[in-house]
C-alpha cells in the first residue's frame, strides 16, 4: 500500500471513529499562544520567582489540551518539584516503569521518597537507579540516608566507605557528617568524633556536626566541651534564623508596598520602598526605585522623581 493510500485510510478511519490526533509536542509547538505560555511558565520555574496557583492551573489546562506533549510533562514535573508536592510527583513518576526512568526523573523520584520519609522505597529505588547510574553521587548519598533510617547502618557504612574518596574529593561536609552519624548509631564513638571533627575542620559552622559532637561529649561526661559546641551551634542557628526573619520581613514590606501602590497611597509607597531599598538585591532595587519614581510623579513631586531617576540610572550603569 502506498503511503498516500495508507494516510487516506487512517484519515477515513479517524473520521469514521472520531479518533483524536495525538496532541503531542508537534501540535504544541505549532500553537504559538500555548508555546508562549509554556515558555513563560518554564521561565518562572527556572527562576526564584513565586510559582502562582494560577500558573499551575494554566499548566494543567495545557496538559489537558496536549496530553501527549513531553515538554508539558517535563514542565509538570518541574512544577510539582517547585510546589514540593512530593506525593503527586511520586505518583506521576510511578506511572513509568522504574527501569525506564531517565536519570533526571530517577533522581526526582528518589528525592520525592526522601522528602516523604519513604525510606524503604528510597533504598529500593536508589539501588535500582544506581545500577544504571553507578557514578551518581547524589543517589548514593540518598541510598545511604535511606539505609540509616531503616536501621541498616552497617550497609550505609559500607556504601559510604566505598565512596569515601569521592566524599573527600568533593569536600562534601554533609557526606562526612552522615558518615559520622552512621558511626555514632553503630556505637563507634571515636570514629564518629573523628568524622565530625573532620567535617568541622572543613566547615566550622556546620550545625549538624556541632550538635552531634556536643551530644557525644555530653554522653561521655565532658559537659564543658559539650556546652561549648552546643553554644556554637545555637549561635549558628540564631544567625540563620535572623537572616530568614529579615528576608521574611522584607517580603512583608514589599508586599505591603504593592498593596499601597494599588490603593494609590503613594506617600506610603515611598516610605515602604525606602525602608526596603538597602536590603534588596540590585535587580529588585531597580524595581523598587521605579515605585519611588512613579509615586513621586503621581504626587507631583518632579524634583524628587528626577533624583530617584538619577539613582536608577546610576544603578543601571
Amino acid at each position: 500500500m502506498s503511503g498516500l493510500r495508507a494516510g487516506l485510510l487512517v484519515l477515513a478511519l479517524c473520521t469514521l471513529f472520531a479518533c483524536e490526533q495525538p496532541r503531542g509536542d508537534a501540535e504544541l509547538i505549532s500553537d504559538q499562544a500555548a508555546m508562549a505560555e509554556v515558555t513563560r511558565i518554564r521561565q518562572i520555574l527556572a527562576s526564584t520567582e513565586p510559582f502562582a496557583p494560577a500558573d499551575f492551573g494554566k499548566l494543567e489546562e495545557l496538559r489537558t489540551d496536549y496530553p501527549q506533549a513531553d515538554l508539558l510533562d517535563d514542565t509538570y514535573k518541574l512544577a510539582l518539584y517547585r510546589r514540593a508536592d512530593w506525593q503527586t510527583l511520586e505518583k506521576h513518576l510511578a506511572t513509568v516503569a522504574p527501569a525506564d526512568l531517565n536519570a533526571v526523573d530517577a533522581k526526582r523520584l528518589a528525592i520525592a521518597y526522601f522528602r516523604q520519609g519513604k525510606y524503604a522505597e528510597l533504598v529500593e529505588h536508589t539501588g535500582l537507579a544506581r545500577s544504571s547510574n553507578p557514578e551518581d553521587y547524589d543517589l548514593l548519598k540518598l541510598q545511604a540516608i535511606g539505609l540509616l533510617n531503616t536501621g541498616k547502618e552497617a550497609q550505609a557504612a559500607e556504601l559510604l566507605d566505598a565512596a569515601w574518596e569521592v566524599v573527600l574529593s568533593r569536600g562534601d561536609v554533609d557526606g562526612i557528617v552522615l558518615r559520622g552519624r552512621v558511626h555514632q548509631r553503630l556505637g563507634e564513638t571515636d570514629a564518629a568524633i573523628e568524622k565530625l571533627q573532620l567535617a568541622l575542620s572543613l566547615s566550622p559552622q556546620h550545625k549538624g556536626a556541632l550538635n552531634a559532637l556536643a551530644r557525644i561529649y555530653f554522653a561521655q561526661g565532658d559537659r564543658d566541651q559539650a556546652a561549648k559546641l552546643s553554644a556554637q551551634a545555637a549561635e549558628v542557628q540564631r544567625r540563620a534564623t535572623q537572616q530568614s526573619t529579615q528576608r521574611l520581613h522584607l517580603v512583608n514590606v514589599l508586599s505591603t508596598m504593592q498593596q499601597k501602590w494599588e490603593q494609590q497611597a503613594y506617600r506610603e509607597v515611598i516610605d515602604l520602598a525606602r525602608q526596603a531599598i538597602d536590603q534588596v538585591d540590585p535587580e529588585t532595587k531597580q524595581v523598587v526605585l521605579q515605585y519611588i519614581i512613579g509615586s513621586h510623579q503621581r504626587l507631583g513631586e518632579t524634583d524628587a522623581a528626577r533624583n530617584a531617576t538619577k539613582e536608577l540610572e546610576m544603578l543601571q550603569k
Partner: protein
C-alpha cells in the same frame, strides 16, 4: 509600566522554609489491621460544643491555633468530666454567646450534661488552652484558662461552681499570648505552682503577612518575636508570686506552644519540656534552690536528628519501650516527623521516629495534640495524635495536602516499635477535621481509655474505645502531704514479670489536660501483684494484689478504696 513587585524573585522567599509544607494527606501504606477501635460518640454523648475561631480575611495567626480541652473529675463523683475552651472574636474582651467555654458533667456512662451556666464557668477574651490542678488543696480540681492577649483566668472549683480568683491570686497577665499551662509542685511543699508557656508577640494592629507563591497565608512564626514563659510559685495562702526571673525563664524566650511535665530522669524533681514552634525545644531540669537548667540541646531533645529546629506543637512523656526511663514524643509540622525521643540512658535521648515506625505517616500530617495511652489495655502505651493543617487555602499550593486531616493512632507493638493503625481503627479516626487539643480518659467507666478532641472552628469530637481490650486497673491518686492532685506522683506496677510505670503529669498534649487517673492495662493478668507509689512529698507507699477491673482511690498514707465512677459524690 512598573513590573509588579509581587512578580519579583525575592518574594519567592515567602514560600521557603517553614512555609513549604506539602506531602501526603493520608498514609500510603496499606491499612494495618488492629484490635484498636474507636467509635464516634459525639452525637450520643450530649456534648454539643462547636469551637468558634472567628477566622477572617486578614489571616491572623491566633485564629488557626485554638483550642484546648480538659478532662477531670470536677465534681468528685469518680467520673471524668469535660471542659472545652472556646475562642470567639480576636480583639474582643467580651466573648460572644455562641463562643462560650463549656463544662459537661459525666454521669459515669459517657453521657454528659452541660452545666456551664450552673457552674459559672466564665468566658472572656480569645480562649486558647486549659490547665487543671487543685492549687488550694480543697479536693476539687481548679482550672487555669489561657488566652491570646492576656485575660488568663484562675478559677477555683468549689465542687459546684467556679470562682474567679485571678486578682486575689496575683496572677496578673501582661497581655501576651498564653498557650499551654501546667501545675506542678517544683519545691515539694505540697502546693501546686504554675508554669505558663507563651508564644510570640502578635499585634492585630500591625501583624506582618506571609505569602506562599503569592497567596496570602497564615504567617510563619519566624516573623515574630518570642515571648518568655512565666512561672509562679504558690505561696500556700491562695496567692502566687512570679519567680520567672529567679528560675531563668526571663532570659530564655522561645515560641512555646506545648508542655509536658513529669520526671524524666527519676530524680524526684519535675522536668519541664517545652515544645517551641520554629525554635529549639527546651527541657528544664527544675531546682527548688537554684535557677533551672535547660538540657534539651545536650540531651538530644531540642532538635530533629539532623540538628534542625522544627515546628513543634505538642508533647507527651511515656516509657513506651519499657526500659524504665520515660521517653518524649513531640508533634511537628507537615513534612516533619512526630519526634520520638527515646531515652537510652538517663538524660540521653535518640530521635527514633523513623526507626520505630512513626516517622513516615507522621510526615504526611500536621500534628498538634498528642497523648500516650494504652488503647487496648496491653500494658504498652499507644500513641494518639490530633492533626490538621494551619493553612485553610493549602489546596491552592498543593494537590495532595488538605486543611482538614484525619487523626492518627499508632499501636505499640511491645517491641519498641509502632504501627499506624489509623485507617482501620474505627469511624472516630476516619473523620477529617482541623484538630488541635486532645485529651484521654475512661469516659464510660469500662476500663478502656476514650478520647476528646477539640477541632478548630468545628464541633468537638467524643470517641469511645471499642477495642478488644485486656484487663485493667484504674488509680485515682490523692495526696495529703503531697499536693492533693498528686501531680508528680509515679506509680510502678509489678504484673508477673512485667514492670509498668505511669506518672501523674502536670501537663501534656497541646493546650489540654488528660484525666489525672493512672490507667494500667494488664493484658491477660488478673491483678497488679505489687504497686509502689512514689508521692511528690518523697513518701513511698506499697500496695499488694490490686484486682483487675477495679477503680481504686489511693489516698496518700491510707488503704485503697474501691469506687464506681459516677455512682456517688465522694466527699473531699
Amino acid at each position: 509600566m512598573i513590573r509588579p513587585i509581587l512578580a519579583l524573585g525575592l518574594l519567592a522567599l515567602s514560600g521557603c522554609e517553614s512555609q513549604v509544607e506539602q506531602s501526603a494527606d493520608a498514609p500510603t501504606a496499606a491499612a494495618a489491621s488492629s484490635t484498636i477501635q474507636f467509635a464516634d460518640w459525639t452525637s450520643e454523648s450530649g456534648v454539643e460544643f462547636v469551637h468558634v475561631a472567628g477566622r477572617g480575611e486578614q489571616k491572623w495567626m491566633p485564629e488557626i491555633m485554638g483550642s484546648g480541652v480538659a478532662i477531670a473529675d470536677f465534681n468528685r463523683d469518680g467520673a471524668p468530666d469535660i471542659l472545652l475552651v472556646n475562642s470567639g472574636d480576636l480583639g474582643a474582651k467580651t466573648r460572644r454567646a455562641d463562643a462560650a467555654n463549656a463544662l459537661y458533667l459525666n454521669d459515669g456512662t459517657g453521657r454528659f450534661s452541660n452545666v456551664t451556666q450552673a457552674w459559672n464557668l466564665p468566658s472572656q477574651g480569645y480562649g486558647m488552652g486549659v490547665a487543671v490542678g487543685d492549687y488550694d488543696n480543697d479536693g476539687f480540681p481548679d482550672v487555669f484558662l489561657t488566652h491570646f492577649g492576656g485575660d488568663d483566668l484562675l478559677l477555683r472549683n468549689t465542687g459546684e461552681s467556679f470562682v474567679d480568683m485571678t486578682p486575689e491570686a496575683g496572677l496578673e497577665t501582661d497581655g501576651h499570648w498564653s498557650t499551654s499551662a501546667g501545675f506542678f509542685d517544683y519545691d515539694a511543699d505540697g502546693h501546686l505552682d504554675l508554669y505558663l508557656a507563651r508564644y510570640l508577640r502578635f499585634s492585630l494592629n500591625d501583624a506582618p503577612k506571609s505569602y506562599q507563591n503569592q497567596v496570602l497565608v497564615y504567617p510563619t512564626p519566624l516573623l515574630f518575636e518570642a515571648v518568655a514563659d512565666r512561672f509562679w510559685r504558690n505561696q500556700g495562702d491562695g496567692s502566687f508570686v512570679d519567680i520567672s526571673a529567679e528560675v531563668g525563664l526571663d532570659a530564655a524566650p522561645e515560641k512555646g506552644l506545648a508542655l509536658a511535665i513529669g520526671d524524666l530522669d527519676l530524680d524526684g524533681a519535675p522536668d519541664v519540656y517545652v515544645a517551641n514552634d520554629t525554635a529549639a525545644n527546651q527541657l528544664w531540669q527544675t531546682d527548688a534552690q537554684a535557677s533551672w537548667t535547660d538540657i534539651a540541646k545536650l540531651s538530644g531533645t531540642a532538635y530533629n536528628e539532623e540538628g534542625r529546629e522544627e515546628g513543634s506543637m505538642g508533647a507527651d512523656f511515656s516509657d513506651y519501650d519499657g526500659n524504665g526511663l520515660a521517653d518524649i514524643a513531640v508533634t511537628n509540622f507537615q513534612l516533619e516527623v512526630t519526634s520520638i525521643y527515646r531515652q537510652d540512658q538517663s538524660q540521653l535521648f535518640s530521635e527514633t521516629s523513623d526507626l520505630v515506625g512513626v516517622g513516615r505517616s507522621s510526615r504526611a500530617r500536621l500534628s498538634f495534640g498528642i497523648d500516650f495511652f494504652d488503647a487496648n489495655n496491653s500494658g504498652w502505651e499507644d500513641l494518639l495524635v490530633a492533626n490538621g493543617h494551619i493553612q485553610d487555602n493549602i489546596h491552592l499550593n498543593s494537590d495532595s495536602v488538605s486543611f482538614a486531616q484525619a487523626n492518627s493512632v499508632y499501636e505499640n507493638q511491645g517491641d519498641g516499635s509502632f504501627v499506624d493503625v489509623s485507617a482501620s481503627a474505627g469511624d472516630a479516626l476516619a473523620a477529617k477535621s482541623v484538630s488541635r487539643g486532645l485529651a484521654t480518659a475512661d469516659l464510660d467507666g469500662d476500663g478502656a481509655l476514650d478520647f476528646v478532641i477539640s477541632n478548630n472552628h468545628e464541633p468537638a469530637q467524643i470517641a469511645l474505645n471499642q477495642s478488644e481490650a485486656g484487663n485493667f486497673v484504674m488509680l485515682w491518686l490523692e495526696g495529703t502531704t503531697s499536693n492533693r492532685s498528686a501531680i508528680g506522683a509515679r506509680a510502678v506496677a509489678k504484673i508477673g514479670d512485667r514492670v509498668l510505670q505511669r506518672q501523674v503529669m502536670g501537663a501534656q498534649s497541646y493546650l489540654s489536660v488528660s484525666d489525672f487517673r493512672l490507667h494500667f492495662g494488664l493484658a491477660d493478668a488478673e491483678l497488679i501483684d505489687e504497686l509502689t507509689v512514689h508521692w511528690p512529698s518523697g513518701g513511698v507507699q506499697r500496695f499488694q494484689a490490686l484486682a483487675h477491673g477495679q477503680f481504686y482511690h489511693l489516698i496518700e498514707g491510707a488503704d485503697p478504696i474501691v469506687f464506681v465512677p459516677g455512682e456517688s459524690l465522694i466527699a473531699p
